[in-house]
């Protein structure tokens, strides 16, 4: 082999000597041309037609930008929020009217729990309010470490990591793992925070029909075939399924056991968002994994916020250290944001204490949910969306008027009627242009353990009255 190469080299040198002069010159010119092409400036479009300074000035003078924001009509309902005076607990004062609260995500009634308050106050007396820094720069408090280990213990996972904002939790966690070129399979009903996380990850997004495992399998199979065509690429393309435990937009539960089966079959990782189901589903409130009896280690990452059942602020992710630890340097909302105020972390710890001490609270909530679900079944003109165990249900119009705005107006008038009758309900709000799949307009009904039988009777009769007077 080496001898052969040497021979070729010798022959080349010989050929060079023997070649005629014009040939060498031609080759020389060609080489120079190649060099020129290599080093010449890249082609720029606007260099092909030079504008004079006068023309440029005219263009600059002429340019009129759009206004920063389009004008908003002053009487738009979103501009004038309902004002809540005092704490948003079981009894809530809206625009001066005292109502029974069927709107705040205060599932376990911990929002004005005395024990939680006392712990928050004690923490406030020790640490003050703010943390004045991100976790990396003296923003890590002993309370944060305690909350993380408590959450990990509660969920029976290796590690947990807390964020200072519920929305930022899953929105930061997804792009920490999934990068450009990776593939994410997502349920169509996924909440807005997930959608933002997907967008930030810049991965390929494949939506499957809501809770339709056949559709998901079809996409997975397609991807598998694609991978077989290009195994080299497939070896570095990470694949994720992102689902919610209990969907906030549809109030139903994901079929987790089937998802886990698909996970191992197609070797895709599962990220589970449990903001609605954490502290709600399962015997001990561990969420949808406990509800289905799925081994929690089979889920690669669980994320939830501490703003609903836990009634504090912030969010957390939990799972195995191999997965979670990565966020401590790559979770943008974790690294670059000030840490959670210690008093809110302390409130969350006390909420966990209560949840651990008294797991009966979850069965109470479950019974209430079922009860409300059945009570709301037969309201003429309104359709209940959700499953009996969901603590946040949706009431949609049975017959849509065909226009979203009119539907919203009708529902809004029902809500207003109920508030007048001392029942606090709210419309489910969405950014209509930004949502990938916009859910139908609905009234949100939130169930909490504090609601009594009479309260439920009241909301049902109120809704019936409202519908009979307003929907004709």
């Amino acid at each position: 082999m080496a001898a052969g190469q040497q021979w070729v080299l010798v022959e080349m040198v010989q050929a060079f000597y023997e070649a005629p002069a014009y040939h060498l010159i031609l080759e020389g010119i060609l080489i120079l041309w190649i060099i020129r092409l290599l080093f010449s400036k890249t082609y720029r479009l606007h260099e092909t037609y030079k504008l004079t300074e006068k023309e440029k000035e005219d263009l600059i003078e002429e340019w009129q930008p759009e206004p920063l924001v389009p004008p908003v009509s002053k009487d738009h309902p979103s501009v004038n929020y309902d004002v809540v005076t005092g704490p948003p607990s079981h009894k809530i004062v809206i625009n001066g009217k005292e109502c029974i609260n069927f709107a705040s995500f205060n599932f376990l009634g911990l929002l004005d729990n005395d024990r939680v308050k006392q712990k928050a106050l004690a923490s406030l007396k020790k640490y003050g309010v703010g943390t004045c820094g991100p976790r990396g720069f003296y923003g890590t408090f002993d309370v944060h470490l305690e909350l993380e280990s408590r959450l990990a213990k509660f969920m029976k996972t290796e590690e947990a990591i807390i964020y200072s904002y519920g929305f930022a939790t899953i929105a930061s966690a997804i792009p920490a793992y999934s990068k450009r070129g990776d593939i994410i399979f997502v349920d169509e009903a996924a909440c807005f925070a997930i959608q933002k996380g997907l967008q930030a990850s810049r991965s390929f997004i494949k939506y499957f029909k809501h809770n339709d495992m056949e559709d998901l399998e079809r996409l997975l199979r397609e991807q598998e075939q694609e991978d077989q065509k290009n195994p080299r690429k497939a070896r570095v393309t990470r694949k994720f399924i992102v689902v919610e435990g209990l969907y906030i937009n549809t109030a139903d539960v994901c079929p987790l056991p089937e998802l886990v089966k698909l996970k191992y079959q197609y070797k895709v990782r599962i990220f589970l968002e449990e903001s609605m189901s954490f502290g709600v589903l399962g015997e001990h409130g561990r969420g949808v994994t406990e509800h289905f009896g799925v081994n929690i280690d089979d889920i690669d990452l669980i994320s939830a916020n501490m703003e609903n059942a836990v009634a504090s602020i912030g969010g957390f992710c939990c799972g195995r250290s191999f997965v979670i630890d990565h966020q401590r340097l790559s979770g943008q909302g974790y690294c670059f944001s000030a840490s959670l105020p210690p008093m809110l972390a302390a409130a969350a710890i006390e909420a966990l204490n209560i949840m651990e001490e008294d797991p009966d609270i979850f069965s109470v909530l479950k019974e209430k949910c079922k009860h409300v679900y059945h009570a709301l079944q037969d309201i003429p003109g309104l359709k209940l969306v959700g499953v009996p165990i969901a603590p946040a249900l949706h009431l949609q119009l049975e017959r849509t008027t065909g226009s979203r705005d009119t539907d919203m107006q009708q529902l809004r008038s029902i809500v207003e009627y109920c508030i007048q009758q001392n029942v606090a309900l709210t419309l489910a709000r969405y950014l209509e242009k930004e949502e990938r799949f916009l859910p139908a307009p609905s009234i949100r009904v939130v169930i909490t353990v504090e609601q009594t039988e009479e309260d439920v009777q009241k909301v049902v009769s109120c809704l019936k009255e409202a519908v009979s007077t307003l929907l004709k």
Partner: protein, 563 residues
């Protein structure tokens, strides 16, 4: 426009940075059309940070310096990283052959045949460089992050792979790391008392979004106060500073819009710009020539390929840049923005409360009109000792955001005690509590800043940034000195922040001090003594400038920049 004398002087400063690169290409427009002149080409280098400015727009001297990196230091820094990398590969090799114990958490057995979650080289830096000096970050504290704090003592039995808390508390560490500019991180005093009361009244959580059932009266009160404080028509507050940027920029711009962003903008601004689906172009840090060039090109040539005019252009800048300690050249940006009809988004995360005679941020500092800034954004985490962020501006803007902000529709509102902390601290700064305490704090902060910066300069350290910025970066350069500095300072009972790549350019590792109004002169002196000691020990006094006593006249301050 004629070139002023000060401009010439500053041009002559010509920082000789070590980075080599192409000279700035000639951009071909005639000088008289540009608002800001292109400086003579021969002085300009891409890495240069001392750019000339239009002195006529400033009401007060604007002294900002970034001393060049000495060549030998730069070379040694690269050598340092080279050695670390070689050792990193060696140890990775040893680990892969199980000669060295691997401490990294591993994938589950059941999932070994999945596509690896991390690319192997992805964590090379973490494993081999960061891990060596990891003890300098995430130090847990167990007290108020005030002027002095208590640290939890921790040890690592396995070279920083894991930490164990010994239960011992390191008491009264002087805190030079927290963003507690006005000293409102307090557990006693009017703010804490008001927050206690708010907790009693409301509890800690809210349990709904602003748009649905989470708009409390306390939020309304806070927003009205913020608007009054900023001098804008209306304001809105959000639960997290990071999210204020990343969730509101997408509401303002979209496809067909252009965002001009400073190269050193915070990750949240970058994320927000990216989520908005607008085109993003980056201009050099605080460099008005670079910005003007981009503005002109954008308007003249329109969108790429289609050449449709841009729908709108949004300039995104920060008030104080937290890693450089520099202050935005706001008067010039406002002049540019008016000339080219662009919109301005100003992130005052570090400057609100910390700058200006009334603590109202850079706008106040330069004596400008807040109405000239279209979007005033800032955070409550720093100067106010609370959490969250705000956006202020015209009523139209805020009304639009109330309807379209991702945060208002989908995220839980601010916790009531946090809102109360914001209200009380802001009232103190404004003097509405009937005491001069706010003014005292503002004065104290500005004096502390001047004193601390001046002393460090005199000691011969290279200090970056503006003379009035309470963020004080001290250059360390070499990777080994990052860890050494942090540890030596902690030994002397002073908590500092050290930062290296990727938060800074690879050779510009630094320590950062955040001055607070709560620091007493004694604390600063103690800190300065320790810094000087450690500086001698680690040979950090790189500066080759001759330091004179500060003078008051405009030209002589300029000539301070002349070496």
């Amino acid at each position: 426009m004629t070139e002023s004398a000060t401009n010439k002087l500053a041009n002559g400063n010509g920082c000789h940075r070590t980075s080599n690169g192409k000279h700035v290409t000639k951009n071909g427009f005639v000088k008289t059309h540009c608002l800001f002149q292109q400086p003579p080409k021969k002085y300009r280098r891409p890495g240069e940070k001392n750019v000339p400015y239009n002195a006529s727009l400033y009401k007060r001297p604007f002294v900002e310096s970034f001393e060049e990196t000495p060549l030998i230091v730069a070379v040694l820094t690269y050598v340092g990283y080279g050695i670390l990398t070689v050792f990193g590969y060696l140890r990775d090799f040893l680990r892969s052959w199980s000669i060295e114990k691997c401490n990294v958490a591993c994938e589950r057995e059941e999932q070994k045949d999945f596509v690896p979650l991390y690319q192997d080289f992805e964590n090379f830096y973490t494993r081999n460089l960061y891990m060596r000096i990891r003890d300098n970050w995430n130090r847990p504290i167990c007290s108020v992050p005030g002027a002095k704090m208590d640290l939890m003592h921790r040890v690592s039995p396995d070279y920083n792979w894991t930490f164990q808390h010994t239960g011992h508390v390191v008491k009264d560490v002087i805190n030079m790391g927290s963003y507690n500019y006005l000293g409102f991180a307090e557990k006693i005093g009017p703010c804490a008392e008001a927050a206690l009361e708010a907790t009693h009244k409301y509890g800690a959580g809210v349990g709904s979004t602003r748009c649905e059932m989470g708009n409390l009266d306390i939020h309304k009160e806070m927003e009205q106060l913020v608007a009054r404080f900023l001098g804008v028509e209306s304001a809105m507050a959000f639960g997290m500073g990071f999210a204020t940027n990343s969730m509101n920029i997408p509401a303002l711009t979209g496809k067909g819009c252009l965002i001009l962003s400073d190269e050193l903008n915070h990750a949240s601004l970058v994320l927000g710009a990216r989520l908005s689906a607008s085109t993003i172009r980056v201009f050099k840090h605080n460099n008005m020539q670079s910005l003007e060039k981009l503005l002109r090109e954008a308007i003249v040539y329109g969108q790429p390929r289609t050449h449709r005019p841009w729908k709108k252009i949004l300039i995104v800048v920060e008030g104080i840049y937290s890693m450089e300690g520099s202050i935005v050249r706001l008067p010039e940006i406002i002049a540019l923005k008016k000339r080219y009809r662009a919109y301005l988004y100003l992130d005052e995360a570090h400057s609100i409360g910390a700058l200006g005679p009334n603590g109202r941020g850079v706008v106040d500092y330069f004596g400008l009109d807040p109405k000239d800034v279209d979007v005033m954004m800032g955070t409550f985490t720093k100067s106010f000792g609370a959490a969250g962020g705000y956006i202020g501006g015209k009523t139209d803007l805020i009304d639009y955001l109330r309807k379209h902000s991702h945060s208002a529709v989908y995220a839980t509102s601010i916790s009531p005690p946090v809102a109360q902390q914001i209200i009380t601290s802001m009232k103190i700064i404004m003097g509405e509590d009937g005491t001069p305490l706010g003014a005292v704090r503002l004065k104290q902060l500005s004096e502390n800043t001047t004193y601390f910066r001046q002393k460090l300069r005199e000691m011969g350290f290279i200090i970056y940034g503006n003379d009035d910025s309470p963020v004080v970066p001290l250059m360390l350069y070499m990777p080994a000195k990052i860890g050494a500095f942090g540890r030596e300072m902690l030994k002397r009972n002073i908590g500092t922040v050290v930062v290296g790549f990727p938060a800074t350019p690879i050779i510009e590792s630094r320590a950062r001090f955040c001055i607070s109004a709560a620091h007493t002169r004694e604390m600063l002196d103690t800190a300065l003594r320790a810094i000087s000691e450690v500086g001698d020990l680690l040979q950090l006094k790189y500066s080759r400038r001759v330091h004179r006593a500060p003078s008051v006249s405009w030209t002589s301050e300029e000539s301070l920049l002349q070496d």
